[in-house]
């Protein structure tokens, strides 16, 4: 019985933290965010060197074969630095391929994911969050038609994992004939989200295993990783607010000596600290407590969505006017948290899934 990070996990998180501090400081984030698409080859390369895309790829296919908790710790650090690099897409694609890919598909793609050579986008928004407008993908005779919105890690993708309306999973190369790709511009310019329109696109089905179960795992792990991303971004915002409050003076005193400011910071810390324990628990549950996986992932996603929103606005407020400027750059974290909250099921949706997972209401 032990509920703490291992020395290896702490070391892994530290080394990613230091790497991102070096390759992607705020000035670089600002440059990347000003581009049309947030692609940053040197950040991607640095992540690949640390093995970040390999974390959920089995060792037999060139990966590290680590757990969801390890992936969540990396996601937390990426959120902390508002890092502009694909992570969620390749991680979830590795799960899909591992659980449902043919031996051939695994042999081709998993090593490329692990090495960082091939990034993947993932189109599971409709089954995970519900369909907006008339979005949805139909599969007929090996061809896909329809529309998938809010495709994760869209920009750098060499290929996409696409869920169809019946829960089947398909692999579609980015240059497949009949596939129209449109970037969607969100508040968060540090990650990319897009839209895929399928005109009778020839797709490779992932033929093995239970694709619905795999899709559920992709959704659950994706939710945990988004919650972890928010945790990192929010923790950083709190730290910056506390540091600023120790420095900025008004009325002849540092503002951190005003109790109103202190209490804002205490409230953020009091909300974040148990939220961290929830993220750990949910991440651990994905591998070790299958009966609680869907429930805890939904709760982590929803709760961090709410706590993240509270910290994002409160930390900004501690800064006064400079808090909302580009100069300070706090807004990258604010927007990151804002995007995390909506993807793969916003809080209301995730909480409904948590209730369904316990049999409180029918699906």
């Amino acid at each position: 019985m032990d509920f703490a990070l291992s020395p290896d996990q702490i070391a892994m998180q530290d080394s990613l933290d230091r790497t991102l501090e070096r390759v992607a400081p705020l000035d670089r984030v600002r440059q990347i965010a000003a581009q049309d698409l947030p692609t940053a080859p040197e950040v991607r390369a640095a992540l690949a060197e640390l093995g970040a895309p390999a974390v959920l790829v089995p060792e037999a296919h060139g990966g590290l074969g680590l757990g969801v908790l390890d992936a969540a710790l990396l996601a937390e650090t990426l959120g902390r630095h508002t890092a502009c690099a694909p992570f969620l897409g390749p991680a979830l694609a590795a799960i899909a391929l591992d659980l449902c890919g043919s031996e051939g598909q695994k042999a081709v793609w998993l090593p490329l994911i692990a090495s960082g050579e091939a990034s993947f986008g993932v189109a599971i928004s409709e089954p995970a969050s519900g369909a907006r407008m008339a979005a949805g993908v139909r599969a007929e005779n090996g061809r896909l038609s329809g529309q998938a919105l809010f495709v994760l890690d869209f920009a750098d993708a060499a290929a996409f994992i696409v869920a169809d309306e019946t829960g089947g999973l398909h692999l579609v190369p980015a240059d497949a004939p009949g596939l129209t790709r449109t970037a969607l511009t969100t508040i968060d310019r540090t990650r990319s989200v897009g839209e895929l329109v399928f005109g009778e696109v020839l797709a490779e089905r992932l033929p093995e295993g239970d694709s619905r179960a795999a899709l559920a795992r992709m959704r659950d792990v994706g939710r945990v990783l988004l919650a972890a991303d928010t945790l990192g971004a929010a923790q950083r915002m709190l730290e910056r607010a506390v540091a600023y409050a120790a420095d900025r003076k008004q009325f002849g005193r540092v503002i951190g000596s005003f109790q109103a400011v202190k209490h804002l910071c205490a409230e953020m810390a009091a909300e974040l600290e148990p939220a961290r324990a929830l993220v750990w628990y949910a991440a651990y549950a994905q591998d070790a407590l299958p009966g609680e996986a869907t429930l805890t992932a939904a709760h982590a996603k929803a709760h961090l969505g709410d706590v993240g929103r509270f910290v994002a606005r409160t930390a900004t407020e501690v800064f006064g006017g400079i808090g909302i400027t580009d100069l300070l750059g706090l807004h990258y974290a604010f927007k990151r948290i804002g995007l995390d909250r909506q993807l793969l099921g916003a809080p209301e949706r995730a909480r409904r899934d948590a209730a369904v997972a316990q049999g409180f209401i029918p699906a």
Partner: protein, 396 residues
């Protein structure tokens, strides 16, 4: 990270479960402020088996086991799972006993701890005064030294259980010329000592949960001190640490959540289960996420304690977040019950004995008592985040 218990612990868990199965008929009902004979007998049985006072030495009436945090947790879990009353947890047992173990004399330990543990000796905590609440160190109840005794005059307030207590542990200013924090002594004496008057204070729940206590020339032998003269502030802080650990317990929140789930499953509105009402369901799920978070936070604290590592922020937030969560749970139960939620005083159709309204009011007291929410935020900001300390006020 590994949340599985290894084999020695699963064996231990089976032992505890076995005990609970075979002794079900001896489990007492909850009572008021003084334990009943039935409760004292149950408590004695629990101590004998090591399910209460587990790590307290046998010489002081405890079970004398080696500290093992996991076993303590397994006991708590098994009792909760069986709905069995656990060991007594009054102020004497939860606050005075740990303080005496840490700082008491041998004579104090051997005479006072055993009957306190059994539930026979009931204590109250005499700290707060009308003029000294959050700023406890400004207390003015004074004890004059007449050579052999302290002669105590003054008033305490909000003293829980004082009307039913045998003894009091009490903060008294014995060194009037010393600085504020260095002039206080921690005294223990009988509530039957001449010159003590207890006046119960009715609270909003309708019960008298705490009291005013007046001291007029109360004579207490100088040997009845814990720690040295003028050390009372330090001794009291040792006690407060134990009190805050007791408030905000996530297992209590978990039990409450289960009860609310039952309400939403069984109660109906316009013939429809409350569970099928998206708004109540959404609130339930919001609070469930918080309960799981606090339980997971508890696991972090457990691991830190086992490794003898500092708990840091994860410990500082428990009282604030835990008490607030319990309060919000009571609020949800009331709201989901609608008009039924306000039935009280034994009214027809009252649900769960009116416990949700009682908790909603009583818990507000817990948010205030033992260090208010605002004081907790000061502590989190100062000790947890290293922010500037509150300005120190003029010395008394």
């Amino acid at each position: 990270m590994d949340l599985a218990y290894d084999a020695t612990y699963t064996v231990f868990r089976d032992e505890v479960r076995d005990f609970l199965r075979t002794h079900r008929d001896r489990m007492p009902k909850r009572s008021g402020h003084r334990p009943t004979d039935e409760q004292i007998a149950w408590q004695t049985l629990l101590i004998e088996h090591g399910y209460a006072a587990r790590t307290i030495p046998e010489a002081y009436g405890g079970h004398g086991a080696e500290p093992d945090i996991l076993k303590s947790r397994i006991i708590a879990e098994a009792f909760a799972e069986a709905g069995a009353p656990g060991g007594l947890a009054n102020q004497g047992i939860s606050m005075l006993v740990p303080t005496l173990l840490e700082l008491g004399t041998e004579a104090q330990k051997t005479t006072l701890i055993p009957p306190t543990l059994r539930g026979e000796l009931v204590w109250c905590q005499g700290y707060s005064e009308p003029g000294a609440g959050s700023d406890l160190a400004s207390l003015t109840t004074r004890g004059e030294d007449d050579g052999e005794n302290f002669i105590i005059n003054g008033q305490k307030i909000w003293t829980s259980t004082a009307h039913a207590a045998d003894m009091i542990f009490c903060l008294v200013r014995t060194e009037p010329d010393a600085p504020k924090h260095e002039g206080i002594s921690y005294l223990i004496f009988s509530m039957k000592t001449p010159g003590i008057e207890v006046r119960p204070l009715l609270t909003m729940t309708g019960a008298a949960e705490f009291n005013e206590v007046f001291f007029t020339d109360v004579k207490v032998p100088k040997t009845q001190i814990v720690g040295g003269r003028g050390q009372g502030w330090f001794v009291a802080n040792a006690t407060l640490k134990h009190e805050r650990g007791m408030l905000g317990d996530p297992n209590a929140a978990h039990a409450r959540l289960q009860a609310i789930i039952e309400i939403l499953k069984t109660e109906t509105l316009d013939g429809q289960r409350l569970m099928d009402h998206p708004l109540y369901l959404d609130r339930l799920m919001q609070l469930q996420a918080r309960v799981i978070s606090m339980q997971a936070n508890g696991l972090r604290l457990l691991t830190a304690a086992q490794r003898k590592e500092p708990v840091g922020m994860a410990g500082l937030i428990v009282k604030l977040q835990g008490c607030e969560l319990n309060h919000q749970l009571a609020a949800l139960a009331i709201d989901a019950l609608g008009e039924l939620g306000v039935l009280y005083h034994g009214s027809p159709h009252q649900r769960d004995g009116g416990v949700w309204q009682h908790r909603y009011m009583f818990d507000l007291g817990l948010i205030i008592g033992g260090g208010t929410a605002q004081i907790q935020k000061n502590i989190i900001a100062e000790r947890g985040l290293g922010m500037p300390r509150e300005p120190k006020l003029a010395k008394v």
